[in-house]
Structures are given as C-alpha cells and as structure tokens.
C-alpha cells in the first residue's frame, strides 16, 4: 500500500470513528437525558429520528455501491465474485428498507405498520447476507491458504447453530403459535430467526478472519462482522422486550442499528480500497 493510500485509509478510519462517537453520544444522550433542555428543545424526538434515519441509511447506500464496485475486481463465474454481488444486494436491500421506513414515518407522521412493505425487502437482504457469508467462507476455504481445518469450521458452525436453536426455540415458538395475524407472526419470528442464522456464518468467519491479523483483509472483516454483530444485537433487543421496554430502550436499539450499518458500510469501503488502492 502506498503512503498516500495509507494516509487516506487512516483519515477514513478517523471519520468513521468520529461518526460512531457522534451517533453514540446522540442516542445515549436520548436514553439518559431525554427530559433535558437539549432533548426537549433542540434534539427533539423527531429531530433525533431524522438524524438517526440518515445515519442508518447513508452508510448502507455507500456500502452497497462500494461492494458492487468490488465485484468487477473478481473474475466472472468465481464464488467470491458471486459473494460480493450478494453482499452488495444485502446492503442495498437494507438501505431501501431503511428509506421506506423513514419515508413512511416522515410522510404520514405515524410508525410504519407491521408488516410493512419494507419487511420483504429486509428478508431478501438477510438471505443475500447469509448467502454472501457462506460463499465467502467457501471461497476462502478453497483458496489454498491456511484459513483453518474443515472440522474446526464445521464444529464452530454446528455448536453455534445448536446453541442458537436451544436459545431461540423457547423464545420464538410461543410467538409463532400466538393468535396474532400470520403476517405479523412471520415478521416477529422471521427477524430474530434470520439474525440467529446470520450469526452462525458470522462466527465461522470471525474465526477465519482472526488468522489475518496484521493484514488489510483482517480490517475488512473486523468492520463487516462487527457491523453484523451490532445490528443483529439491535434486532434481537428490539424483538425480545415488551412495548414499554421498547419505548424505554428505543435509543439503544437505534444506536445498535446505526453502529451496525456504519461498520458494515465501512467494511465494504475497506474491501474496495483493499482491491483497488
């Protein structure tokens, strides 16, 4: 990497850290000091919602564009190329979903319905993410580099899947069997289920990424996987609490989503600079 590219990369990292600090301060302030003058007069709930909507959607759009630009750096027909197409589709679907939710809220002044038109788009995004991560793992394993033994990958996958199934089933089965409308049940069960599924290849990839410490590849996956952990954490937190607690913990959920999308988009940007600079 040239000195100039290195300086540019460091500058971008500083900007991302500053943005992460700013959204953290914004949402933690809302969580702990919602009755303060600042949050009653200046950073009203609507203003914070507007800033939050931009903070969530913008990195996703940027990430989708950069992930799409990564595709051309791989040969046609390769697994890794298909994986980056899927990663771009994931970020793009989430960006569109975020935009729909924000447009509904600011257009109608009401919370989006459950389910909303954004939900099938998010679901497609999740499937793209899962497919992308699985294909990346497959491509890395087939590379001939020492990314770890097959049995280790299988063991991490199976153990994490078993733990998530054991934790998720008692939580999600009652929701699935409840008397709420079927579309609402699909949304209520679908997101936590997809989060748990996403976490399985994420953990496998975390283990693989750890072997790249000290290299540019490590930075890419640290950012993307950290992003995934944050937004799945936000999703699980959002799904698993009562409406009262949701109202109380809302800023924390928003923070997790904002950080998750910021780091995910930044990871795609890092991958692009790794491939091209």
């Amino acid at each position: 990497m040239t000195d100039q590219a290195d300086i540019a990369r460091r500058r971008r990292a500083i900007v991302v850290l500053l943005l992460a600090g700013a959204v953290t301060a914004l949402f933690l302030g809302q969580l702990w000091a919602s009755k303060s003058w600042l949050y009653e007069r200046v950073l009203t709930a609507r203003t914070v919602r507007a800033i939050g909507s931009i903070a969530k959607a913008a990195p996703l759009y940027v990430g989708a564009v950069y992930a799409a630009r990564c595709v051309s750096q791989y040969d046609a027909g390769t697994t890794v190329r298909r994986a980056w197409i899927a990663m771009s589709a994931w970020l793009g679907c989430f960006a569109i979903g975020q935009t729909i939710l924000a447009a509904h809220f600011f257009g109608s002044g009401r919370e989006p319905p459950i389910p909303s038109i954004a939900d099938p788009i998010y679901f497609i995004g999740y499937l793209c993410l899962i497919a992308g991560l699985v294909m990346i793992i497959g491509a890395y394993r087939a590379s001939g580099f020492s990314v770890g033994r097959l049995r280790e990958v299988v063991a991490i996958g199976l153990v994490s899947a078993a733990i998530f199934a054991a934790v998720g089933a008692p939580m999600l089965l009652p929701v699935a069997r409840s008397h709420t409308p079927i579309a609402e049940r699909i949304v209520n069960v679908g997101y936590p289920l997809l989060d748990l599924v996403v976490l399985v290849p994420t953990l496998v990839l975390l283990r693989i990424a750890a072997r790249f410490q000290g290299g540019s590849v490590f930075r890419v996956w640290t950012a993307i996987l950290l992003g995934i952990v944050f937004f799945t954490g936000g999703d699980i937190l959002f799904a698993d609490v009562s409406p009262e607690a949701q109202a109380r913990l809302g800023p924390l959920v928003d923070l997790f989503f904002a950080l998750g999308f910021l780091f995910s988009g930044y990871g795609a940007r890092l991958q692009h600079s790794l491939l091209t600079e």
Binding site: Y140, V217, L275
Partner: protein, 86 residues
C-alpha cells in the same frame, strides 16, 4: 530467476504478502504450499514458478485480480534482486 534457498524464498514471499493477509496467514500458507509442492532446501526456477502459480489464484480471492497480480510482480522483483545479489 535461478535457484534460491528455501528460507530466503519464503522470507521474500511472506514480506510481500504480510501487508495484505497478515504475517501469520502469509507464513502458514506459504509454508503449507511449500510442503505440498515438496520444495527442497534449494528451490529451482520451475519450483518457484509452481509456488507462485499456487499462491496467485488463492490471493486473488482475498485481494482481487489486480492486487494479486501486483503482489506476484513484486515478489518476482524481490526474487530477481535476491538472485542477482547471490
């Protein structure tokens, strides 16, 4: 490119790969490929080519076509310089 001591060869390759994939991955992967190719302590030109041919497609997966090609070119330059230096 003529023959080169295996340790010297590994050091040159690992030096170029480390900024991309990290020193641990570079060392372990190149060691593994050397073992798979059965490289002798003194590696001749065809064996060096075989090793570079094994590294490039794998590196392609991590850093893309252009960067992988650039890295292999740098390794070749490093190997040429080492061979000339004796």
């Amino acid at each position: 490119m003529t023959s080169l001591g295996r340790e010297r060869l590994l050091a040159i390759i690992v030096r170029e790969l480390s900024p991309l994939v990290g020193p641990m991955m570079a060392q372990a992967s190149v060691n593994g490929m050397c073992a798979k190719l059965g490289l002798a302590p003194q590696v001749d030109a065809p064996q060096i080519e075989a090793l570079l041919s094994a590294i490039e497609p794998g590196l392609n997966v991590f850093v893309g076509r252009t960067k992988a090609r650039d890295a292999i070119t740098k390794i070749r330059r490093g190997l040429d310089a080492a061979a000339e230096g004796g």
